[in-house]
Amino acid sequence: MNARSFGLGGARHLPTIVLVARREVRMRLRSRVFVGGTIVMTVLVVVGIVAASLLAGRTTPVRIGFSGGSQALERSFTATAAALGANVTVSDIADITAGEAQVTAGTLDVLVTGSATAPTAVAKAAIPSNVESALSLAAEAARLSDAGLSPAVVTSAMALVPVRLLQPPNPRNTESVFASLALGILLWIALGQYGNMVAQGVVEEKATRIMEILLATIRPSRLLAGKVLGIGLVGLLQLTIVGAAALFAVQVTSVAAIPALGVASILGDILWFLLGFLLYATAYSAVASLVSRQEEVQSAVAPISILQIAGYLLMYVTLANPTSPLVIVCSMLPPFAPILMAVRIAASDVPSWQVGLAVAFIVASIGGLTWLAGRMYSNAALHLGTRVRFMDAFRG
C-alpha cells in the first residue's frame, strides 16, 4: 500500500467535465424524446417554408423568351426590368411556333418576336405591366441607337426619373412576418425544452440518489458544467439538423428572398439559441438544485417559466409594432433578448448598437448566473428531502 496509486495523471484520462457531458449526450440521443422531437420540428419547419414559398408565389420570376432579331434587346431589357423591380429570366427561342406553343402550355410567360426596333410581345392572357414597360423602353433605346445617337446619349436620354420617398414603407411584408413568427416560436420552444431538460437533469441525480456517489469523486461545479455542456450540445445538434433541413428547403423552394430565411439569419438564430440556452440553463439549474423530486421541478422553475411566457407574448407585440419603445427596451433585456432580437432582426433593420448592447447584457448575465448557480448547486446538491430555501443555498 503506498501513495502511488493516488496518481491520476495520464493523457488517456478524459477530464471529468467531458465524461459528464459525453454521458448526457449519449443518454439524450438515445431517448425517444430527442428522436421524435427532432423529426417533428424538422417536419414543421419544412412544411412552414413550403407554405411560405406558396404564399410568396408571385415573386416567381417572369419567363421571357426572345426570338430572331429581338434577341439583341435581351441585355438592355434585363437591366431595365431590374430597375423597374420586375423579376425576370430571359432565354433564347429559336422557333416562333414552338415558342408560342410554350406560352400556351404555360412553360413560358412572354414570347418576344420581330426585330429589335419593332418587337412584338406574345403572352397567354396578360403581361405584367412592368415587363411591358421594360420591353417598350428597351425597344425605344434600340430605335434611338438606330437613328444614330451614341450609346451614352441614349443611356442619359432614357434615364428613369429618380424617386425620393419621404415616408418609405416598412420593408416587411406578409412572408417576412410569417417567417419571423415561426422562427420566434421555434426558438421559444427550443429554449423552454432544453432549459427544462437541464432542470430535470439536475434533479435526476438528487432524486435517484446517485449524487452522493458522484460527489465523492467529482466537484459539484464540474458536474453542473458537464451537464449544461452536454445538454447544450444536444440542443445545438437538434437545431443544426432542423436548420440544415430549413436551408435545404429554402434552396429548393426559392424563398431565399425572404430575409428571415437567409443563411446569415439562420446562423444568427443558432447563435441566439446558444446565448439564450446558456442563460436559461444556468437559471434553471440554480432553482432546480433546491428541490429533490421530479414532481417539485415545475413549481420550482415557475418564476423562470413566467419570464419565458412574457417573452412569448412580447414576441407578438414586436411583430405588430417593431419600433415601439417597449419592444426596443425589452429586446435588449437578457431574459427576452434571445427571442425578441432574433425576431426584430428577421422582421426589420435593427441598429447594430442595440444588438451589441443586448449581447453584452446577456453575456454579463450568463457570467453572473453561472457563479450563482454553481454556488447554489454545490450547497444544495446533497441536501435531500425537503426543499432548500434560496438564501440557505446561497449562503451555504
Partner: protein
C-alpha cells in the same frame, strides 16, 4: 502492529439541535475488515459521509497514511452510500464503466473492470439491461460493483448486506475479505451482528455519536461481563443470593446462567455452588457480539 491507514480523529457534526457525531475517533489498518455497528441514528452514516468528503465535519480530521485526506485521495475510496442510487435508465455495464472513468480509469480499463465485476456477481448476462429492469437484490450487487469497479484503495460501505439473499451475502463477504487481504482497509456498517462477528477483524460500537467500544471481538469480551452455566441439582432455590458481583440471567431446570461483573472471580461462584451440594456442570459461555452490543449500549445509554 501496522500503522493505521485510515484515521478518523475526533470528528464532530451537529444538525441544528441534534448532535450526530461527537468527537468520534477510530482507525482502520491496511488489510483490515472493520465492522461498524450501532443503533439507527447513532452516527454511522454521518461518519461515513464525512470520511467520503460529501459532508463537512464541524471539527476533527480524517487522515489517510498520516496526512489529512485530500480530494484526490478521496477519489480513490470506494463508497456505497446508505441511500442507494444509480442512474435507473443507464445500462448496467455502461454505468459501471462511466463510474470507473470518473474515478480516473481509461475507457478500456473501465469497461474491462465493469465486465469483470458483473461476471463475478453473476450478472454477466444482464450487462446491457437498464438498471431499473433488475431485481432489487441485483441492483444492490451492481451498487457494490460500483464501489469496487475502479480498484479502490479504501472501501467504505454503508449497510452492504442489507436486502441480500444468503448466497449474495456469501459472495459479498468473500469479496470484502479478499479486498482486505489485498491490503485495502474495509469499513462497513451492519445490523447483522453475527455476520460482523464472523467476518470482521475489529469492531467499533458507536452510540450517540461516540465510539463506546472498539477492538477485536475477543478484546471486547475481555473488558465486559462473563457468563457461566452451573448445574447444581440438589441446591436450594436461593443458593446464589449471597455471592457478590453475580446476577442470575435465567434458569433452565436445575441449570442456571449467571452473569459476572468484570473482575469477579468465577471460582467464588463455584465455591458457593459446591457448598450446597455436588456440581454437575460449570461452563464458561462466550458472549456473542450481540450480547456485548446490548451490554455496551445499555451502559452508554444509562
Amino acid at each position: 502492529m501496522a500503522d493505521p491507514a485510515l484515521e478518523i480523529d475526533r470528528i464532530a457534526k451537529r444538525y441544528a439541535d441534534v448532535v450526530a457525531v461527537d468527537g468520534l475517533t477510530f482507525e482502520v489498518r491496511a488489510g483490515e475488515l472493520f465492522g461498524f455497528v450501532g443503533r439507527n441514528g447513532a452516527g454511522k452514516t454521518t461518519t461515513m459521509r464525512i470520511t467520503l468528503g460529501v459532508l463537512a465535519p464541524d471539527a476533527g480530521v480524517v487522515r489517510w497514511l498520516g496526512v489529512p485526506l485530500t480530494f484526490e485521495a478521496r477519489r480513490r475510496i470506494g463508497y456505497m452510500p446508505e441511500e442507494r442510487g444509480l442512474y435507473p435508465k443507464m445500462h448496467v455495464a455502461e454505468q459501471l464503466a462511466y463510474l470507473g472513468e470518473l474515478h480516473g480509469m481509461t475507457g478500456a480499463e473501465a469497461r474491462n473492470a465493469a465486465l469483470g465485476w458483473l461476471d463475478r456477481f453473476g450478472l454477466a448476462d444482464r450487462r446491457d439491461a437498464e438498471l431499473q429492469a433488475l431485481s432489487l437484490g441485483n441492483q444492490q450487487r451492481v451498487q457494490l460493483a460500483a464501489a469496487l469497479v475502479f480498484g479502490p484503495d479504501v472501501l467504505v460501505l454503508d449497510e452492504p448486506f442489507a436486502g441480500l439473499d444468503p448466497v449474495a451475502v456469501d459472495v459479498m463477504a468473500g469479496v470484502l475479505r479478499e479486498r482486505a487481504d489485498a491490503g485495502v482497509p474495509v469499513i462497513f456498517s451492519s445490523h447483522e451482528l453475527e455476520l460482523v462477528e464472523r467476518l470482521c477483524d475489529r469492531v467499533g460500537i458507536v452510540e450517540r455519536g461516540r465510539m463506546v467500544a472498539c477492538g477485536t471481538v475477543d478484546e471486547l469480551r475481555a473488558g465486559g461481563q462473563q457468563r457461566r452455566w452451573i448445574d447444581v441439582p440438589g441446591a436450594p432455590g436461593d443458593w446464589d443470593a449471597g455471592v457478590p458481583g453475580v446476577r442470575l440471567v435465567r434458569t433452565d431446570g436445575s441449570r442456571r446462567l449467571f452473569e459476572l461483573d468484570g473482575g469477579v472471580d468465577d471460582q467464588v461462584l463455584l465455591q458457593a455452588a459446591l457448598a450446597t451440594g455436588p456440581v454437575r456442570a460449570f461452563e464458561r459461555v462466550e458472549p456473542s457480539l450481540g450480547d456485548l452490543f446490548r451490554t455496551v449500549i445499555g451502559e452508554a445509554g444509562a
